[in-house]
Protein backbone atom coordinates (compact mmCIF):
# COMPACT_ATOMS: atom_id res chain seq x y z
CA UNK A 1 0.00 0.00 0.00
CA UNK A 2 1.56 3.27 -1.06
CA UNK A 3 0.29 6.76 -1.75
CA UNK A 4 0.41 10.19 -0.28
CA UNK A 5 -1.12 10.85 3.10
CA UNK A 6 -3.58 13.71 3.47
CA UNK A 7 -3.97 16.15 6.34
CA UNK A 8 -7.74 15.90 6.13
CA UNK A 9 -7.81 12.16 6.75
CA UNK A 10 -7.56 10.18 9.97
CA UNK A 11 -5.16 7.29 10.41
CA UNK A 12 -5.03 4.34 12.80
CA UNK A 13 -2.60 1.49 13.50
CA UNK A 14 -2.73 -1.32 10.97
CA UNK A 15 -4.10 -4.68 12.02
CA UNK A 16 -0.83 -6.10 10.72
CA UNK A 17 1.21 -4.71 13.59
CA UNK A 18 1.09 -5.06 17.35
CA UNK A 19 2.41 -2.16 19.37
CA UNK A 20 3.68 -3.09 22.79
CA UNK A 21 5.18 -1.22 25.66
CA UNK A 22 8.00 -3.32 27.07
CA UNK A 23 9.97 -2.01 30.01
CA UNK A 24 9.12 1.55 29.03
CA UNK A 25 9.98 1.14 25.34
CA UNK A 26 7.39 1.25 22.58
CA UNK A 27 8.06 -1.68 20.28
CA UNK A 28 6.30 -2.20 16.96
CA UNK A 29 5.99 -5.87 16.08
CA UNK A 30 5.00 -6.62 12.48
CA UNK A 31 2.73 -9.63 12.15
CA UNK A 32 3.03 -9.99 8.41
CA UNK A 33 5.83 -9.77 5.90
CA UNK A 34 6.67 -6.63 3.96
CA UNK A 35 6.42 -4.25 6.90
CA UNK A 36 10.13 -4.25 7.49
CA UNK A 37 12.99 -6.62 6.94
CA UNK A 38 13.59 -7.15 10.58
CA UNK A 39 15.45 -10.38 10.85
CA UNK A 40 17.75 -9.08 13.54
CA UNK A 41 16.12 -5.80 14.44
CA UNK A 42 13.27 -4.39 16.43
CA UNK A 43 11.41 -1.20 15.62
CA UNK A 44 11.06 1.16 18.53
CA UNK A 45 9.78 4.73 18.79
CA UNK A 46 11.62 7.59 20.38
CA UNK A 47 9.82 10.08 22.61
CA UNK A 48 8.61 12.25 19.75
CA UNK A 49 7.57 9.22 17.74
CA UNK A 50 5.55 8.06 20.73
CA UNK A 51 3.79 11.42 21.00
CA UNK A 52 2.76 11.23 17.38
CA UNK A 53 1.87 7.53 17.45
CA UNK A 54 -0.37 7.99 20.46
CA UNK A 55 -2.49 10.40 18.44
CA UNK A 56 -2.87 8.12 15.44
CA UNK A 57 -5.94 6.41 16.83
CA UNK A 58 -8.30 7.21 13.98
CA UNK A 59 -10.25 9.71 16.06
CA UNK A 60 -9.04 12.91 14.39
CA UNK A 61 -7.66 14.08 11.07
CA UNK A 62 -3.92 14.42 10.69
CA UNK A 63 -4.25 18.21 10.64
CA UNK A 64 -5.56 18.07 14.21
CA UNK A 65 -2.63 15.90 15.24
CA UNK A 66 -0.26 18.48 13.76
CA UNK A 67 -2.04 21.33 15.54
CA UNK A 68 -1.86 19.56 18.90
CA UNK A 69 1.84 18.87 18.53
CA UNK A 70 2.58 22.39 17.27
CA UNK A 71 1.04 23.76 20.40
CA UNK A 72 2.81 21.23 22.61
CA UNK A 73 6.25 21.79 21.10
CA UNK A 74 5.98 25.61 20.67
CA UNK A 75 7.10 25.41 17.10
CA UNK A 76 7.55 28.74 15.37
CA UNK A 77 9.26 27.62 12.20
CA UNK A 78 6.88 24.99 10.93
CA UNK A 79 9.25 22.12 11.66
CA UNK A 80 6.63 20.12 13.51
CA UNK A 81 4.35 19.94 10.50
CA UNK A 82 7.18 18.76 8.26
CA UNK A 83 8.35 16.19 10.80
CA UNK A 84 4.91 14.82 11.60
CA UNK A 85 3.91 14.53 7.96
CA UNK A 86 7.23 12.88 7.14
CA UNK A 87 6.86 10.41 10.00
CA UNK A 88 3.25 9.55 9.25
CA UNK A 89 4.10 9.08 5.58
CA UNK A 90 6.87 6.69 6.61
CA UNK A 91 4.47 4.71 8.81
CA UNK A 92 1.94 4.61 5.98
CA UNK A 93 4.54 3.47 3.46
CA UNK A 94 5.61 0.72 5.86
CA UNK A 95 1.94 -0.31 6.23
CA UNK A 96 2.07 0.28 9.96
CA UNK A 97 -0.91 2.60 9.81
CA UNK A 98 -3.95 2.67 7.55
CA UNK A 99 -6.55 5.26 6.71
CA UNK A 100 -9.53 5.20 9.02
CA UNK A 101 -12.46 4.15 6.89
Amino acid sequence: MTGKIELGRAYRPSDDVVVREIEGEIVIVPLTSGIGDLEDELLTLNETGRAIWARLDGSRPLAAVVAELESEYEDAEGEVRVDVVGFVQELYDRRMIVEKS
Partner: protein, 375 residues
Protein backbone atom coordinates in the same frame (compact mmCIF):
# COMPACT_ATOMS: atom_id res chain seq x y z
CA UNK B 1 11.64 17.86 17.36
CA UNK B 2 13.94 15.07 16.39
CA UNK B 3 13.83 13.95 12.79
CA UNK B 4 14.03 10.23 13.43
CA UNK B 5 11.03 8.85 15.21
CA UNK B 6 11.22 5.19 14.34
CA UNK B 7 14.41 3.60 15.50
CA UNK B 8 15.58 0.41 13.86
CA UNK B 9 17.67 -1.16 16.49
CA UNK B 10 19.67 -4.37 16.17
CA UNK B 11 18.39 -6.82 18.76
CA UNK B 12 21.62 -6.96 20.76
CA UNK B 13 21.52 -3.17 21.16
CA UNK B 14 17.94 -3.02 22.31
CA UNK B 15 17.80 -0.97 25.50
CA UNK B 16 15.55 -3.55 27.05
CA UNK B 17 18.51 -5.83 27.74
CA UNK B 18 20.19 -3.30 29.99
CA UNK B 19 17.01 -2.67 31.88
CA UNK B 20 16.45 -6.37 32.31
CA UNK B 21 19.98 -6.83 33.59
CA UNK B 22 18.94 -4.83 36.63
CA UNK B 23 16.46 -7.39 37.80
CA UNK B 24 14.42 -10.49 37.14
CA UNK B 25 12.13 -10.03 34.13
CA UNK B 26 10.54 -12.27 31.53
CA UNK B 27 12.28 -12.10 28.18
CA UNK B 28 11.28 -15.31 26.48
CA UNK B 29 9.61 -18.65 26.88
CA UNK B 30 9.61 -22.00 25.17
CA UNK B 31 6.32 -23.64 24.34
CA UNK B 32 6.33 -27.36 23.65
CA UNK B 33 3.30 -27.59 21.40
CA UNK B 34 3.37 -31.38 21.57
CA UNK B 35 5.58 -34.17 22.83
CA UNK B 36 4.60 -36.26 19.80
CA UNK B 37 6.92 -36.61 16.85
CA UNK B 38 6.81 -38.30 13.46
CA UNK B 39 10.45 -39.36 13.95
CA UNK B 40 11.77 -41.67 16.64
CA UNK B 41 15.31 -40.46 17.23
CA UNK B 42 17.59 -42.64 19.30
CA UNK B 43 18.67 -39.77 21.51
CA UNK B 44 15.32 -38.03 22.06
CA UNK B 45 14.37 -37.26 25.65
CA UNK B 46 10.72 -36.41 25.12
CA UNK B 47 9.11 -37.89 22.02
CA UNK B 48 5.83 -39.76 22.01
CA UNK B 49 4.54 -41.56 18.91
CA UNK B 50 2.87 -39.29 16.36
CA UNK B 51 -0.38 -41.18 16.71
CA UNK B 52 -0.50 -41.21 20.52
CA UNK B 53 -4.13 -40.21 20.98
CA UNK B 54 -3.94 -39.94 24.76
CA UNK B 55 -1.01 -37.52 24.50
CA UNK B 56 -2.85 -35.53 21.82
CA UNK B 57 -5.93 -35.27 23.99
CA UNK B 58 -3.94 -33.77 26.88
CA UNK B 59 -2.23 -31.10 24.76
CA UNK B 60 -3.02 -27.44 25.28
CA UNK B 61 -5.69 -26.12 22.96
CA UNK B 62 -5.32 -23.01 20.82
CA UNK B 63 -7.35 -20.91 23.26
CA UNK B 64 -5.18 -22.01 26.16
CA UNK B 65 -2.02 -21.26 24.18
CA UNK B 66 -3.38 -17.83 23.28
CA UNK B 67 -4.13 -17.11 26.93
CA UNK B 68 -0.62 -18.15 28.02
CA UNK B 69 0.86 -16.04 25.20
CA UNK B 70 -1.17 -13.03 26.34
CA UNK B 71 -0.11 -13.51 29.95
CA UNK B 72 3.52 -13.85 28.90
CA UNK B 73 3.32 -10.70 26.76
CA UNK B 74 1.72 -8.85 29.67
CA UNK B 75 4.73 -9.85 31.79
CA UNK B 76 7.01 -8.40 29.09
CA UNK B 77 7.96 -11.50 27.09
CA UNK B 78 9.44 -10.58 23.74
CA UNK B 79 10.17 -13.98 22.31
CA UNK B 80 8.49 -17.36 22.08
CA UNK B 81 10.23 -20.51 20.91
CA UNK B 82 7.69 -22.93 19.54
CA UNK B 83 9.08 -26.42 19.89
CA UNK B 84 8.07 -30.01 20.58
CA UNK B 85 8.12 -32.92 19.81
CA UNK B 86 7.38 -31.85 16.29
CA UNK B 87 5.10 -28.77 16.31
CA UNK B 88 4.06 -29.24 12.68
CA UNK B 89 2.32 -32.48 13.66
CA UNK B 90 -0.47 -30.43 15.15
CA UNK B 91 -3.32 -30.01 12.69
CA UNK B 92 -4.07 -26.63 14.31
CA UNK B 93 -0.47 -25.45 13.98
CA UNK B 94 -1.37 -22.33 11.96
CA UNK B 95 -3.96 -21.31 14.54
CA UNK B 96 -1.70 -21.78 17.53
CA UNK B 97 1.14 -19.93 15.76
CA UNK B 98 -1.16 -16.99 15.10
CA UNK B 99 -2.52 -17.10 18.64
CA UNK B 100 1.03 -16.36 19.81
CA UNK B 101 2.02 -13.98 17.02
CA UNK B 102 -1.06 -11.84 17.54
CA UNK B 103 0.15 -11.04 21.06
CA UNK B 104 3.15 -9.27 19.57
CA UNK B 105 5.58 -12.08 20.33
CA UNK B 106 8.52 -12.80 18.07
CA UNK B 107 8.35 -16.45 17.11
CA UNK B 108 11.13 -18.95 16.60
CA UNK B 109 10.31 -22.48 15.55
CA UNK B 110 12.17 -25.74 16.04
CA UNK B 111 11.19 -28.39 13.52
CA UNK B 112 12.75 -31.43 11.90
CA UNK B 113 11.47 -30.03 8.56
CA UNK B 114 10.15 -33.38 7.37
CA UNK B 115 6.53 -32.20 7.41
CA UNK B 116 7.13 -28.80 5.78
CA UNK B 117 4.71 -28.41 2.88
CA UNK B 118 4.22 -25.67 0.30
CA UNK B 119 1.31 -24.49 2.44
CA UNK B 120 3.65 -24.05 5.41
CA UNK B 121 6.07 -22.04 3.27
CA UNK B 122 3.27 -19.78 2.01
CA UNK B 123 2.17 -19.26 5.59
CA UNK B 124 5.69 -18.49 6.86
CA UNK B 125 6.23 -16.06 3.99
CA UNK B 126 3.09 -14.21 5.00
CA UNK B 127 3.65 -14.45 8.77
CA UNK B 128 7.42 -14.75 9.08
CA UNK B 129 8.97 -16.32 12.15
CA UNK B 130 12.20 -14.73 13.34
CA UNK B 131 13.87 -17.98 12.44
CA UNK B 132 13.34 -21.69 12.04
CA UNK B 133 15.90 -24.05 13.50
CA UNK B 134 16.30 -27.43 11.88
CA UNK B 135 18.47 -30.24 13.19
CA UNK B 136 20.57 -32.13 10.68
CA UNK B 137 21.01 -35.69 11.92
CA UNK B 138 23.09 -36.83 8.97
CA UNK B 139 23.82 -35.99 5.37
CA UNK B 140 23.36 -39.48 4.01
CA UNK B 141 20.19 -41.52 4.09
CA UNK B 142 21.92 -44.27 6.02
CA UNK B 143 23.13 -42.03 8.85
CA UNK B 144 20.08 -39.79 9.04
CA UNK B 145 17.68 -42.69 9.24
CA UNK B 146 19.93 -44.62 11.62
CA UNK B 147 19.38 -41.72 14.02
CA UNK B 148 15.69 -41.08 13.30
CA UNK B 149 14.77 -44.76 12.95
CA UNK B 150 12.16 -43.64 10.43
CA UNK B 151 12.36 -44.89 6.83
CA UNK B 152 11.82 -42.14 4.27
CA UNK B 153 12.66 -39.39 6.74
CA UNK B 154 15.89 -38.33 5.00
CA UNK B 155 14.15 -37.54 1.71
CA UNK B 156 11.33 -35.78 3.59
CA UNK B 157 13.90 -33.71 5.50
CA UNK B 158 15.71 -32.67 2.32
CA UNK B 159 12.41 -31.75 0.63
CA UNK B 160 11.22 -29.73 3.60
CA UNK B 161 14.52 -27.92 4.06
CA UNK B 162 14.72 -27.11 0.36
CA UNK B 163 11.18 -25.72 0.47
CA UNK B 164 12.03 -23.43 3.38
CA UNK B 165 15.25 -22.20 1.81
CA UNK B 166 13.66 -21.70 -1.62
CA UNK B 167 10.89 -19.71 0.08
CA UNK B 168 13.44 -17.34 1.59
CA UNK B 169 12.55 -18.32 5.16
CA UNK B 170 15.31 -17.66 7.69
CA UNK B 171 16.62 -21.10 8.60
CA UNK B 172 19.33 -21.94 11.08
CA UNK B 173 20.85 -25.37 11.12
CA UNK B 174 22.34 -27.36 13.94
CA UNK B 175 23.38 -30.88 14.74
CA UNK B 176 23.52 -33.32 17.61
CA UNK B 177 26.87 -35.02 18.05
CA UNK B 178 26.00 -38.69 18.39
CA UNK B 179 27.81 -41.98 18.19
CA UNK B 180 25.63 -42.77 15.17
CA UNK B 181 26.64 -39.69 13.18
CA UNK B 182 30.08 -38.86 14.57
CA UNK B 183 31.75 -40.10 11.39
CA UNK B 184 29.67 -37.58 9.44
CA UNK B 185 29.92 -34.52 11.68
CA UNK B 186 32.42 -32.73 9.47
CA UNK B 187 30.20 -33.30 6.46
CA UNK B 188 27.16 -32.16 8.48
CA UNK B 189 29.02 -28.97 9.32
CA UNK B 190 29.80 -28.38 5.64
CA UNK B 191 26.18 -29.10 4.72
CA UNK B 192 24.91 -26.55 7.25
CA UNK B 193 27.40 -23.83 6.37
CA UNK B 194 26.65 -24.22 2.67
CA UNK B 195 22.97 -23.52 3.30
CA UNK B 196 22.91 -20.85 5.99
CA UNK B 197 25.01 -17.75 6.20
CA UNK B 198 25.61 -17.36 9.85
CA UNK B 199 24.87 -20.36 11.90
CA UNK B 200 25.97 -23.83 12.67
CA UNK B 201 26.42 -25.46 16.00
CA UNK B 202 26.45 -28.94 17.40
CA UNK B 203 25.35 -30.21 20.76
CA UNK B 204 27.14 -33.13 22.43
CA UNK B 205 24.90 -33.20 25.48
CA UNK B 206 22.23 -35.88 25.48
CA UNK B 207 19.56 -35.73 28.18
CA UNK B 208 18.02 -38.87 29.50
CA UNK B 209 14.28 -39.36 29.09
CA UNK B 210 11.71 -37.41 31.07
CA UNK B 211 9.63 -40.60 31.28
CA UNK B 212 12.65 -42.51 32.66
CA UNK B 213 12.07 -45.30 30.12
CA UNK B 214 15.11 -47.46 30.81
CA UNK B 215 15.23 -49.13 27.40
CA UNK B 216 15.25 -45.69 25.74
CA UNK B 217 17.79 -44.38 28.23
CA UNK B 218 20.08 -47.26 27.28
CA UNK B 219 19.86 -46.12 23.68
CA UNK B 220 20.68 -42.54 24.68
CA UNK B 221 23.69 -43.57 26.76
CA UNK B 222 24.96 -45.60 23.83
CA UNK B 223 24.83 -42.48 21.65
CA UNK B 224 26.93 -40.37 24.01
CA UNK B 225 30.45 -39.54 22.94
CA UNK B 226 33.30 -40.07 25.38
CA UNK B 227 34.64 -37.03 27.27
CA UNK B 228 37.76 -37.02 25.08
CA UNK B 229 35.67 -37.13 21.92
CA UNK B 230 33.54 -34.22 23.15
CA UNK B 231 36.65 -32.16 23.88
CA UNK B 232 38.23 -33.01 20.54
CA UNK B 233 35.10 -31.81 18.77
CA UNK B 234 35.00 -28.63 20.82
CA UNK B 235 38.64 -27.89 20.11
CA UNK B 236 37.95 -28.26 16.41
CA UNK B 237 35.29 -25.54 16.68
CA UNK B 238 37.09 -22.21 17.30
CA UNK B 239 33.91 -20.38 18.33
CA UNK B 240 32.88 -22.97 20.85
CA UNK B 241 36.39 -23.42 22.21
CA UNK B 242 36.77 -19.64 22.51
CA UNK B 243 33.59 -19.45 24.57
CA UNK B 244 34.84 -22.16 26.90
CA UNK B 245 38.17 -20.38 27.26
CA UNK B 246 36.44 -17.11 28.09
CA UNK B 247 34.31 -18.80 30.72
CA UNK B 248 37.37 -20.44 32.17
CA UNK B 249 39.39 -17.34 32.82
CA UNK B 250 37.27 -16.87 35.88
CA UNK B 251 36.92 -20.47 36.86
CA UNK B 252 40.18 -22.33 36.61
CA UNK B 253 42.30 -21.58 39.64
CA UNK B 254 45.50 -19.71 38.92
CA UNK B 255 48.55 -22.01 39.32
CA UNK B 256 49.59 -20.38 42.57
CA UNK B 257 46.12 -20.80 43.98
CA UNK B 258 45.66 -24.43 43.06
CA UNK B 259 44.68 -26.46 46.04
CA UNK B 260 43.07 -23.43 47.65
CA UNK B 261 39.59 -24.08 49.01
CA UNK B 262 36.76 -22.93 46.84
CA UNK B 263 33.86 -21.45 48.81
CA UNK B 264 31.08 -23.92 49.44
CA UNK B 265 27.77 -23.26 47.73
CA UNK B 266 24.59 -24.82 49.09
CA UNK B 267 22.31 -23.50 46.38
CA UNK B 268 21.76 -26.04 43.69
CA UNK B 269 20.57 -23.60 41.01
CA UNK B 270 23.56 -21.53 39.98
CA UNK B 271 22.84 -20.98 36.31
CA UNK B 272 20.40 -18.07 36.26
CA UNK B 273 17.47 -20.35 35.50
CA UNK B 274 14.08 -18.71 36.00
CA UNK B 275 15.48 -15.19 35.74
CA UNK B 276 14.62 -14.44 32.11
CA UNK B 277 12.61 -17.33 30.78
CA UNK B 278 10.50 -20.39 31.44
CA UNK B 279 9.19 -23.41 29.57
CA UNK B 280 5.61 -24.53 29.07
CA UNK B 281 5.10 -28.23 28.40
CA UNK B 282 2.53 -29.76 26.05
CA UNK B 283 0.00 -30.16 28.85
CA UNK B 284 0.41 -26.66 30.26
CA UNK B 285 2.93 -27.31 32.99
CA UNK B 286 5.35 -24.46 33.47
CA UNK B 287 8.87 -25.44 34.45
CA UNK B 288 11.99 -23.31 34.94
CA UNK B 289 14.03 -24.80 32.13
CA UNK B 290 13.80 -27.28 29.31
CA UNK B 291 15.66 -30.05 31.12
CA UNK B 292 14.01 -29.84 34.51
CA UNK B 293 11.25 -32.41 34.79
CA UNK B 294 11.19 -32.91 38.58
CA UNK B 295 7.58 -32.70 39.86
CA UNK B 296 8.45 -30.12 42.54
CA UNK B 297 9.24 -27.65 39.77
CA UNK B 298 6.10 -27.99 37.68
CA UNK B 299 3.29 -25.43 37.87
CA UNK B 300 -0.02 -26.17 36.18
CA UNK B 301 -1.01 -23.18 34.05
CA UNK B 302 -4.39 -24.77 33.49
CA UNK B 303 -5.28 -24.07 37.09
CA UNK B 304 -3.07 -21.11 37.97
CA UNK B 305 -1.92 -17.90 36.33
CA UNK B 306 1.42 -17.26 34.71
CA UNK B 307 1.91 -14.16 36.86
CA UNK B 308 1.50 -16.25 40.00
CA UNK B 309 3.94 -18.82 38.67
CA UNK B 310 6.50 -16.16 37.76
CA UNK B 311 6.28 -14.00 40.85
CA UNK B 312 5.54 -16.62 43.49
CA UNK B 313 6.20 -20.18 42.48
CA UNK B 314 9.50 -19.93 40.59
CA UNK B 315 11.44 -17.74 43.04
CA UNK B 316 10.35 -20.00 45.87
CA UNK B 317 11.32 -23.32 44.30
CA UNK B 318 14.58 -22.03 42.84
CA UNK B 319 15.89 -21.17 46.28
CA UNK B 320 16.35 -24.89 46.88
CA UNK B 321 19.51 -25.74 48.79
CA UNK B 322 21.24 -29.01 49.41
CA UNK B 323 22.59 -30.50 52.59
CA UNK B 324 23.88 -33.65 50.90
CA UNK B 325 27.49 -34.20 51.74
CA UNK B 326 28.31 -35.66 48.29
CA UNK B 327 27.04 -32.51 46.60
CA UNK B 328 28.51 -30.01 49.03
CA UNK B 329 31.94 -31.59 49.01
CA UNK B 330 32.08 -32.13 45.29
CA UNK B 331 29.90 -29.89 43.09
CA UNK B 332 29.44 -27.28 45.83
CA UNK B 333 33.18 -26.57 45.86
CA UNK B 334 34.13 -27.50 42.34
CA UNK B 335 36.40 -24.93 40.63
CA UNK B 336 35.56 -26.17 37.16
CA UNK B 337 31.82 -26.33 37.64
CA UNK B 338 31.26 -24.01 34.67
CA UNK B 339 32.89 -26.57 32.40
CA UNK B 340 30.53 -29.21 33.64
CA UNK B 341 27.28 -30.52 32.22
CA UNK B 342 26.04 -30.83 35.79
CA UNK B 343 22.94 -29.01 36.88
CA UNK B 344 20.06 -30.10 39.12
CA UNK B 345 17.95 -30.95 36.07
CA UNK B 346 20.53 -33.27 34.57
CA UNK B 347 21.42 -34.71 37.96
CA UNK B 348 17.76 -35.60 38.44
CA UNK B 349 17.56 -37.27 35.06
CA UNK B 350 20.77 -39.22 35.70
CA UNK B 351 20.38 -40.16 39.36
CA UNK B 352 16.80 -39.47 40.42
CA UNK B 353 18.13 -36.79 42.81
CA UNK B 354 18.55 -33.09 42.18
CA UNK B 355 21.73 -32.82 44.18
CA UNK B 356 23.95 -35.78 43.48
CA UNK B 357 27.17 -35.52 41.47
CA UNK B 358 27.30 -37.36 38.15
CA UNK B 359 30.66 -39.01 37.65
CA UNK B 360 30.39 -38.98 33.87
CA UNK B 361 29.93 -35.20 33.90
CA UNK B 362 33.01 -34.86 36.12
CA UNK B 363 35.02 -36.68 33.47
CA UNK B 364 33.81 -34.29 30.75
CA UNK B 365 34.63 -31.24 32.87
CA UNK B 366 38.09 -32.62 33.68
CA UNK B 367 38.77 -33.38 30.04
CA UNK B 368 37.69 -29.87 29.10
CA UNK B 369 39.92 -28.35 31.76
CA UNK B 370 42.85 -30.43 30.54
CA UNK B 371 42.14 -29.33 26.99
CA UNK B 372 42.13 -25.70 28.01
CA UNK B 373 45.30 -25.97 30.04
CA UNK B 374 47.15 -27.56 27.15
CA UNK B 375 45.90 -24.72 24.98
Amino acid sequence: MAKEFVVRRPLPEFGLWEKMADGRAVFSFDLEATARCNLDCRHCYINRPAGDRAARKRELGVDEIGRIGAEAAALGAVWCLLTGGEPLLRPDFFDLYQALLSKGLLISLFTNATLVSDEHVRFFKKFPPRDIEVTVYGVTRETYERVTRTPGSFDAFLRGLDRLLAGGITVRLKAMALRSNKHELAAIGDFCRARTKDYYRFDPQLHLRFDRDESRNTLIRAERLSPREVVRLERADPERFGALEAACDEILPAPAAEGARVPECRHIFRCGVGQRSFVVGPEGHLRPCLSLSHPDFLYDLRTGSLAAAWTGFLPAVLRRESDKREYLEKCGRCPIVNLCLWCPAHAYLETGELDLPVEEFCRVAEARAEGLKSG
